[in-house]
């Protein structure tokens, strides 16, 4: 297949708006190709979209569905010859997840948080999500074994546990959520900061974060640690964010990538001492990212209207539920995690929500290097992923931002700098934030670019970059982004002008890291004891069986020699 004459944006290969053909053979990008030609003359062509942080599968997601039938009755689409029925807006059913991402031109999406013991459930849902290539990040920030290894300063054993946990969960990378706080929530409390000891374990969140970062680099995992800060969602928490980032400055990356990826930065860029004097501190955060090179972030942009908040940060969810007097689901997970789910509404006239909306945009617009900022809504926490076209047009058009601000609370512009920002992103920057950067941050070599050997995941938008001015024609741009003219996945056209043409089952990435046998043996002694005494299931029934991982792609990091010096 050949995509002819498109205006191509492929930032990873230094291509910004060049007219060129793209050749596809055997599901990959090639130098030459024959066969079907797709006329993309003058149209915007990009790699398939990559979402590095979205909640698409697992217990939290299904809990969001079960507790909100009102959400599932919205967005209902009947079954077709190709598609299963679709339901839901903030928490779509599995099929709608695949179809809706594909319609927008996205072809790779990573689930952001899975406890090891719940991974079987996560994979059960991942295999029901059509079209997309997927992976799931595994939670490590509150596991007893992690805290005990950190307490003993035994990073090699911690690395062995991380490797074992990724294997057990068929997971892709190390996710850390409110480290220590999830354990504290087991008795209804929380940690107040990175140096506040975790009850009963005599370690601090700071030690957990550093330990896991060291283990992550010792294992040379494709992705860095993926961190949801302590105190997330609280006024004044930007200082916790900066303090945490400083903890990781001296850690050497084992690969050409960041040392830490910060999840949904928007929720951790808050100033003020309460919701009354709540204000944006995004400029301070962006300034830090501009001056340092060890961290990346994703936006966690807020979208007005319905959302469903779901996170392993259970204390936060309890606070949310109390503030909003909303329904509240909680799920504490033995020896590993806690989590919560609360349906939410972001109000256009609510000052706090307006400031949150502004912060996400400030972070993207004030951080100079788009490679450091991924576009997300932390679906469905900030809002559903189907709103990405809205976010992109907000980044590309100052007039659109001004029009939005005009509809908000009159105090809002005083609480952030959003109204003063001129920057309007171009297609190259958008392609970085939605394609090239997420793939690089995740360490996916064959994603997010159109060079030979890359997966033939391509999006063609019905939009001529050389004729359309996104600053002015943002409505037109948003429409074009919402339904790609063509979405090509692995060399096959899966969506055309919003219609799903075929729904093949995508792949699931997971990482199998090697550790010295001695470390693994020391670890298994600990684990056997934990299963004998504390877990409610047997070790032999714990690990995710192969039957649950459809089309697996196993990534094996290069064997390590630099282990000692990192430790």
């Amino acid at each position: 297949m050949i995509v002819k004459g498109g205006t191509v944006y492929d930032p990873a290969n230094g291509i910004f708006g060049e007219e060129m053909d793209i050749c596809i053979e055997g599901g990959r990008i090639t130098e030459k190709a024959a066969g079907e030609e797709i006329d993309a003359k003058g149209l915007l062509v990009m790699p398939g979209g990559v979402d590095a942080h979205s909640h698409i599968a697992g217990k939290k997601v299904n809990t969001g569905r079960i507790m909100s039938p009102g959400d599932s009755r919205s967005g209902v689409e009947p079954r077709t010859a190709v598609c299963r029925p679709s339901t839901g807006y903030t928490v779509p059913n599995c099929y709608a997840m695949g179809y809706r991402y594909a319609r927008m031109g996205y072809t790779t999406v990573f689930e952001a948080a899975t406890p090891i013991i719940d991974a079987r459930h996560t994979h059960e849902e991942l295999k029901e999500i059509p079209i997309l290539d997927k992976g799931a990040l595994t939670l490590f920030g509150n596991n007893w074994e992690v805290m005990e290894c950190v307490h003993d300063r035994d990073i090699p054993k911690l690395a062995a546990y991380v490797a074992w946990g990724l294997q057990a969960a068929r997971g892709y990378g190390v996710k850390i959520v409110n480290p220590g706080g999830g354990e504290a929530w087991g008795f209804g409390t929380n940690v107040k900061g990175v140096h506040d000891p975790v009850p009963n374990f005599d370690v601090t969140p700071a030690e957990i974060i550093r330990g896991l970062a060291q283990a992550n680099e010792m294992l040379r995992l494709p992705h860095s640690i993926h961190l949801h800060f302590n105190n997330l969602g609280k006024p004044g928490n930007y200082s916790t964010a900066l303090e945490t980032l400083e903890l990781l400055k001296d850690i050497k990356p084992s690969r050409r990538r960041q040392v830490v990826h910060v999840a949904h930065m928007q929720f951790s860029s808050y100033g003020g001492t309460s919701w009354k004097d709540f204000e944006s501190r995004a400029p301070d955060i962006a300034d830090y990212f501009n001056k340092s090179s060890h961290a990346t972030m994703d936006m966690g942009q807020v979208i007005f209207g319905n959302a469903t908040t779901m996170t392993a940060d259970a204390p936060l969810e309890y606070a949310n539920a109390r503030i909003a007097h909303a329904k509240w689901s909680n799920y504490d997970i033995e020896l590993e995690e806690s989590s919560g789910v609360v349906p939410w509404v972001y109000g256009r006239k609510m000052l706090v929500n307006d400031v949150q909306w502004a912060i996400g945009l400030e972070l993207a617009l004030l951080t100079k290097d788009p490679w450091k900022v991924l576009l997300t809504t932390d679906h469905p926490n900030g809002g559903p992923f189907v709103n990405y076209p809205e976010v992109i047009t907000l980044l590309m058009s100052r007039p659109k931002r001004e029009a939005e601000i005009a509809t908000q609370h009159e105090m809002a512009p005083k609480r952030s700098t959003i109204a003063t920002i001129d920057r309007e992103m171009d297609w190259g920057e958008v392609a970085v934030m939605t394609r090239a950067a997420p793939a690089r941050v995740l360490g996916l070599a064959e994603k997010g670019h159109l060079g030979p050997g890359a997966d033939a995941d391509i999006t063609i938008y019905d939009l001529k970059p050389n004729e359309v001015d996104p600053s002015v024609d943002h409505a037109l741009v948003k429409k074009a982004l919402a339904a790609a003219k063509y979405t090509i996945k692995g060399g096959a056209v899966v969506a055309k002008e919003g219609e799903i043409l075929q729904a093949p089952l995508g792949r699931t990435y997971w990482v199998q890291a090697e550790v010295p046998a001695a470390d693994a043996q020391r670890l298994m002694v600990d684990l056997q004891e934990k299963f004998d005494r504390y877990y409610s299931i047997q070790l032999s029934n714990y690990m995710v069986q192969d039957a649950y991982v459809a089309n697996p792609v196993v990534i094996r990091p290069p064997a390590r020699e630099a282990a000692k010096e990192v430790a």
Binding site: M67, S68, P69, G70, R73, K327
Partner: protein, 254 residues
């Protein structure tokens, strides 16, 4: 005034969904167009004329100038007058579930029994039931915060359980008894029950429920003063305190 009368051609083996039966959908259409409208017999898509006979005035009119008269047995026909904004729907017998769903205006009158979910999430207009009604009159959808927000429902007979659950506005008047938990979790609106009921106003935060008969009152209600309405004495309670509610529950002092 355009009158359109619709009659079932036979007894239906399973229930029928016919949300097209409302002045808003029919008023402007010719008989030909009306007969071609889509209804569902269980999982089978059918033309309206496959299941119903349509008669009356040919000439198109505005919804407000349209009367839809339903003759014969509509007790298994669901979603009659769903979302109607104007005009009149007269059901000469009973009506199936979800009659007047999300109704915004106009009048729906039902001579017989109105099955469950009458006037669910109603916004405006008026529903009059000469017979009795089933469960969830004026309620909301599962798990949603708000049921009925506006309009009026009048039931001459009795009503089933969960009358006005999650009600946020409007008024419901039941001459007879009401089943368990009327006005549960309501946040506004007024409910009058002429007869007796059981545990009214559970988790009510705002609104008023008046009971002309007996009612078992929840422990979250505090006795206030005795008030006289239209010459009749009522014991007033405030609650439901489990939700820090300030709703008013008035029960006839017997």
């Amino acid at each position: 005034m355009r009158t359109i009368s619709i009659k079932p051609l036979r007894a239906f083996e399973v229930s029928v969904e016919a949300e097209v039966i409302s002045p808003d959908r029919l008023a402007a259409l010719t008989f030909g167009q009306i007969r071609a409208l889509e209804v569902w017999l269980g999982n089978r898509k059918r033309k309206l004329s496959d299941l119903f006979r349509v008669e009356g005035d040919e000439a198109p009119a505005s919804p407000a100038e349209t009367l839809v008269r339903l003759e014969g047995d509509f007790s298994r026909v669901k979603r009659i007058a769903e979302g109607m904004t104007a005009g009149t729907v007269e059901v000469l017998g009973g009506a199936g579930m979800h009659a007047g769903n999300g109704m915004k205006g106009g009048q729906l009158s039902i001579q017989g029994y109105a099955d469950d979910w009458l006037g669910r999430e109603m916004r405006g207009g008026k529903i009059i039931v000469a017979g009795s009604a089933g469960n969830y009159v004026g309620a909301g959808y599962r798990g949603e915060k708000c049921g009925m927000r506006g309009g009026e429902i009048e039931i001459s007979g009795s009503a089933g359980a969960y009358l006005g659950e999650h009600m946020c506005g409007g008024s419901i008047r039941v001459s007879g008894d009401a089943g368990d938990f009327p006005g549960a979790a309501n946040q506004g609106g007024t409910i009058y029950i002429g007869g007796s009921t059981y545990l009214p106003g559970a988790e009510m935060t705002k609104g008023t429920i008046t009971v002309g008969g007996n009612a078992r009152v929840l422990p979250g209600y505090q006795k206030a003063d005795v008030v006289t309405i239209e010459g009749r004495e009522y014991q007033k309670y405030l609650g439901d305190l489990v939700e820090k509610g300030t709703g008013e529950l008035l029960v006839a002092a017997s």
